[in-house]
Symmetry: C2
DNA sequence: CTGAAAGCGCTAACAA
DNA sequence: TTGTTAGCGCTTTCAG
């Protein structure tokens, strides 16, 4: 009754009069396959519980070359999209009796790779990588070690990946921004302030490039053109984003007609900037964000958002993993969250 | 050069002409203590790298009865306070060469306990528990297994804990709310709408009870009284919080003078509710939140917040762990983030 | 300065 | 239906 010292299956074997292998089978559920008498198994199980026994998973893992651990690597915890993923990932992992190990690597490719290696040293059973900075390199390492792995959000050509339909999502979001544009003021024509700008993200990354494509497509469909200066893929760093917004505002001599924030990090900086502008400047300003943040719905400034289906992304990722050695790319449509007209609005 | 198959120290031993124990020492850094020739060690290290060798940490862990894993249990990922903790925890763990394992247990005491046991089965080296639902039980289990552990945010009388000075923080926050109260309207006297209400949290939990105490103290200092109905500790469930706000509003026949949201979950629901009220109702409404959320600064409604020093909490927790068997309770003062007067405000 | 050998706790053939 | 045995890959005395 006192689980003070750690017990092993040998203690249980001694106390129960059975052998260690019988105890092992009884305890890990393989006893029916091993044709062990039910009574024996039950007796052992009861005894183990009474003794407060708990398997040593390192020993089991060493023996079986598995560990029960599944890794998830992501850029940061402090981001609603990724914390949603963590949440869903935890659920799915535990539902399968696996232990989730979630590690943030700060969008640093080196940290990312060393984390992959660290996790592999623990013999993790599978690796999920969300928002990878260097998918191909990661995949190469995993393949060399024959570690099942799957990418989420940022895909990899050499490995199973599940991503959001970024292009469609971006197109829809852009259309929503266009639809909310204030009535055209001829005075602004040619100043650049009549345009919509996309801010943030890294054009070299797959997700961003598709979003940019969607943005462009919508622009061209509605205005017949999309200038290069309308896309400002300045990365994810808050400081950089803040500087870019300032620079844009300065260059235009005022607010643009609309803005497409290409990540939550950037969105936050955009809001920070906006909160310091005098209110009249913001009238009719049209804002959208790719990715969803519940607070976005609670601002007095209406904002359209594209919500990635995190639950679905994670589920499909597990499914891909369970298939043999596919290199499939699964695409999940996002959910468009339009700013509803609301009670608290500018003209309120 | 092809790390296709997994290598062991025996492979390296064979290839290098040294013995497995020498290889082991060379590779894990104990070689100088073992008086192994530097040249030998370096040669082995180089060979290992060339072969793409990577230790099997399960084997090491089995042998040493450690694992290099440190656990952090928390209620949810989707909460800025906890994701800040995750971030800080990850940093500290990696700085010490440990691997962070962060698991969310949905404020479910049973899940919490079973997660503790799961983690222990992996021979984690230490356990951090943030926002525990059942600290005493967890601590009992850990002590039985002689697992070093420390509580954050929700303390445990039987184990080292580091918490925020909830009472002071709550008092200051309440004072800030009081300071921003709209000029007193005699018409409301006695309706309950002239009062400030604390919403959310669980009065049975230590953190909440201290916050309630701080709230009460500030109320009494300023108004000479604090009625029981001013404290609505309805838990953390969004739905419940939403229902309580509605009920309060209905009961009072309008908005109260101010609100103290006792957690980010509740805060979010409060905002959701407010966003559906007609603007005039909100004039002069004074809002505060215990815990910090950057979006809180970006709302057009001014909101005071108390920010827990997550970095500090985590650091102190590690320090406590490194002391012998202390039962110390460390208190960290929070940071008060007052709503600044800003450009975008109601009268803007 | 280095090697041999034992064993961490468990599982899985293979015997019985 | 159950026990015996041989490792999984590593660290660590203890001998040399």
């Amino acid at each position: 009754m006192k689980p003070t010292q750690k017990h092993t299956i040998y203690d249980i074997a001694t106390r129960s009069g059975a052998s260690a292998s019988t105890v092992s089978a009884a305890l890990n559920g393989t006893w029916k396959a091993r044709r062990i008498k039910e009574a024996t198994a039950l007796r052992i199980i009861a005894l183990a519980r009474e003794m407060g026994y708990s398997v040593n998973l390192q020993a089991r893992g060493l023996r079986t070359a598995r560990s029960g651990l599944v890794g998830l690597i992501l850029p940061e915890h402090n981001n609603r999209f990724f914390s949603d993923l963590s949440q869903s990932f935890t659920l799915e992992a535990r539902a399968r009796g696996q232990c989730p190990v979630i590690i943030a690597t700060a969008r640093n490719p080196e940290e990312e790779l060393s984390t992959v290696r660290d996790l592999m040293a623990y013999s993790i059973d599978a690796l999920f990588v969300a928002g990878a900075a260097d998918p191909q390199h990661i995949s190469k390492i995993c393949r060399a070690a024959q570690l099942p792995h799957v990418f989420i959000d940022q895909p990899c050509p050499d490995a199973p990946s599940v991503i959001t339909d970024n292009e469609t999502g971006a197109r829809q979001l852009t259309e929503a921004i266009i639809d909310t544009l204030a009535p055209h003021s001829p005075a602004l024509e040619g100043t650049g302030r009549e345009k919509i700008y996309l801010l943030g993200g890294d054009a070299r990354l797959h997700a961003s490039s598709r979003r940019i494509a969607g943005f462009r497509a919508a622009m061209i469909a509605h205005f017949g053109r999309c200038d290069d200066d309308q896309v400002i893929a300045c990365g994810y760093e808050p400081q950089t984003a803040q500087a870019e917004i300032r620079a844009l505002h300065a260059r235009l001599g005022g607010m643009p007609a609309g803005l497409f924030a290409n990540s939550l990090n950037v969105f936050e900086e955009v809001l920070r900037f906006l909160s310091r502008r005098p209110e009249p400047e913001l009238r009719g300003f049209s804002l959208g964000c790719f990715d969803y943040e519940p607070y976005g719905e609670l601002l007095r400034l209406p904002v359209h958002m594209v919500r990635q289906r995190h639950r679905e992304l994670v589920r499909r990722a597990w499914e891909l993993l369970e298939e043999p050695g596919s290199t499939e790319l699964v695409t999940v449509p996002p959910e468009l969250c339009l700013a509803r007209p609301r009670v608290l609005r500018y003209e309120g």
